[in-house]
């Protein structure tokens, strides 16, 4: 693990950070079931286990007010980490401390100070109107009347919840629901908010609104935010630090600026080619450029380091072998950097 965050260390030792994670590990035991009746009977006597290490000896510490993007490929262990931080899961080993509390030991106390959005699950009350949900949350989190009223008014304004308040949650669209969820997560003014894929499946307008809201809450209350997402635009617009994990291990932990600087000489060129069959990298670019397959037929992106090659050489090498309909030279995006790190390591 590379730590680009030297000042972290001190906080770690002084113990005044918001979230502290040391040697955190989570192993899931999965019972292997043999098929059929015989398997079921056999399962009564002998049990085969496989152990899946979802989070593997993770260390980090997050200070109050930080906006941290927690990113990694599918199955990297992001949700598992967040579940341990929020007290839902007990770690197999290692330490977690959130706000001075060990979450899985003092679940209710921890719950009072955190907020969370799990993109795939609703936390609002399914059958009752949104307004009622907020009323219930007020009592569940014991929010003082005045504070609740003011916060809610502001949320209604910023997230444009007005037209949704009378609707039962089950009748809301995904984007409407997510705006309501977000308000619910921040309603009791938690000091930490975990957002597990809060923008999944949302349109650009809603995403923009949600990002603005998160930044705003951070500015107003110095709320610490830990965000997982597969949308790098979220990261660029919200976070000032990223932690990248892969197969349960931390690959990178540092500021967004320093990763950009470090990989800043990365360039990407997007090609739209008339392809007949598969795209193969021209020999001249072998080992120097990376292929990032695009979403559509014929769309291909190449990333390379501006130290090793210049853009003109890359373009002429490709045009020597393929007919291009269009091409654009892009700024280095965090997305390509992350892709690179997944592929090759730091």
């Amino acid at each position: 693990m590379v730590n680009y965050y030297p000042e972290n260390r001190e906080y770690f030792e002084m113990g005044c950070s918001m979230i502290e994670v040391r040697g955190l590990t989570k192993e899931y035991t999965i019972v292997k079931k043999s098929p059929g009746l015989r398997g079921a009977v056999k399962g009564l006597f002998v049990r085969d286990y496989t152990v899946k290490r979802a989070v593997d000896n993770i260390n980090f510490s997050i200070n109050q007010g930080e906006l941290v993007g927690y990113i990694g490929a599918n199955g990297a262990g992001k949700s598992t980490t967040i579940k341990m931080l929020s007290g839902i899961l007990t770690p197999s080993s290692g330490e977690v401390k959130v706000n001075g509390i060990i979450p899985y030991q003092e679940r209710k106390k921890n719950a009072q100070t955190i907020g969370a959005v799990f993109g795939q699950r609703t936390q609002l009350f399914w059958d009752i109107a949104v307004r009622e949900s907020y009323h219930l949350l007020k009592h569940i989190y014991q929010i003082p009347d005045k504070q609740h009223k003011e916060t809610l008014e502001m949320f209604i304004e910023v997230l444009n919840l007005g037209p949704l308040l009378a609707t039962p949650v089950r009748q809301l669209s995904l984007g409407q629901k997510m705006r309501c969820e977000l308000a619910a997560a921040f309603l009791h003014n938690p000091s930490i908010v975990y957002l597990d894929e809060p923008t999944i499946g949302l349109d650009v307008a809603v995403k923009t609104r949600i990002r603005a809201f998160i930044r705003e809450m951070n500015k107003l209350h110095n709320t610490t935010v830990l965000l997982t997402t597969h949308d790098m635009q979220d990261i660029e617009e919200i976070c000032n630090r990223i932690i990248i994990i892969d197969e349960g291990k931390v690959l990178y932990d540092g500021s967004l600026a320093s990763i950009k600087e470090r990989f800043g000489q990365k360039r990407v060129i997007h090609f739209e080619l008339d392809l007949e069959g598969e795209f193969t990298l021209p020999a001249a670019l072998e080992g120097k450029a990376n292929v990032i397959p695009g979403e559509e037929e014929g769309k291909i992106s190449l990333s390379f380091s501006s130290k090793e090659m210049n853009a003109a050489d890359v373009i002429s090498a490709v045009l020597g072998e393929y007919r291009a309909r269009d091409l654009t030279i892009a700024d280095p995006k965090i997305e390509t950097i992350v892709h690179e790190i997944y592929e090759r390591g730091v």
């Binding site: 209710k108 009752i128 009592h139 569940i140």
Partner: protein, 262 residues
């Protein structure tokens, strides 16, 4: 405490909104009461009493027992669902106790159905079937107290089945078994005093008669005198025992969620 109160209120509001369910529930209960009335009138035919119980007492018993057995389900189903779709985990992130919350919701539902369903049917039964008043004047309040304890016992037993969902994925089999046992041993069909002696003895060692038989028998006078207090005491003992079992099972279940991830 306030939060559970608010949860209960929200459930009452929610239930009051579903008028179709309300009416279909009421209609099916009225139908059952009517069938029971017709059945027992036919059984008694020209007889004045069967094993010492006159028709009017029998009708009083079976009507009240039918109504009370409506309450014997609880939130176990709800809990089992949440276990299955993984929502239990999310509930653990809330600053409340899930078991208390479920009880609060259940109370809400039961209060709504008492007001909108049970009470009107009892009044109708007084008028049209001519069911009796309580056996003695103090049997009235005591039977209500006993019924409330019984309702709690029923709900808690249901909760046990819900918690079992953590280990047994499909619990409908358990539920059917429970329904059969309840129908018989709670006294929902027949007063337990009509059972053969050995079965009555078995029944006194089970919690099920506390749910229906005890409160209704106090009302109709099959349980009288100091037996009333003894029966209510037994109900309380069962309530405490079952509550203890639930807490124990729940702590195991919690361990399971937090270690295996649901």
């Amino acid at each position: 405490m306030r939060k559970y109160w608010e949860l209960m209120k929200s459930q009452i509001k929610l239930d009051s909104a579903y008028t179709i369910w309300y009416w279909s529930g009421t209609a099916s209960t009225i139908l059952r009461v009517f069938v029971i009335y017709a059945f027992w009138s036919a059984v008694y035919d020209n007889r004045v009493e069967i094993t010492g119980i006159p028709l009017s007492t029998m009708l009083t018993y079976v009507v009240l027992a039918t109504l009370l057995s409506n309450y014997s389900a609880g939130v176990g189903y709800e809990l089992a669902n949440r276990v299955r779709n993984g929502e239990v985990a999310i509930e653990l992130m809330r600053p409340y106790d899930l078991m208390h919350k479920l009880v609060a919701l259940d109370l809400g539902t039961k209060i709504t159905s008492s007001v909108r369903n049970t009470l009107p049917i009892i009044i109708l039964s007084f008028i049209f079937i001519g069911i009796n008043l309580p056996h003695t004047w103090f049997a009235g309040p005591l039977s209500i107290l006993s019924a409330i304890i019984g309702v709690f016992i029923g709900a808690q037993l249901d909760m046990i089945i819900g918690i079992l969902a953590f280990w047994v994925f499909y619990i409908w089999g358990l539920r059917i078994l429970r329904n059969a046992i309840l129908l018989f041993f709670s006294g929902a069909l027949l007063p337990i005093s009509l059972f053969p002696d050995w079965l009555q003895t078995v029944s006194t060692f089970l919690p099920f008669q506390s749910i229906v038989y005890v409160p209704v028998a106090i009302y109709t006078g099959q349980i009288t005198g100091s037996d009333i207090y003894f029966s209510i005491l037994m109900q309380l003992v069962w309530l405490v025992v079952i509550f203890g079992i639930i807490r124990l099972l729940w702590s195991f279940a919690l361990r399971r969620v937090t270690i295996f991830g649901g």
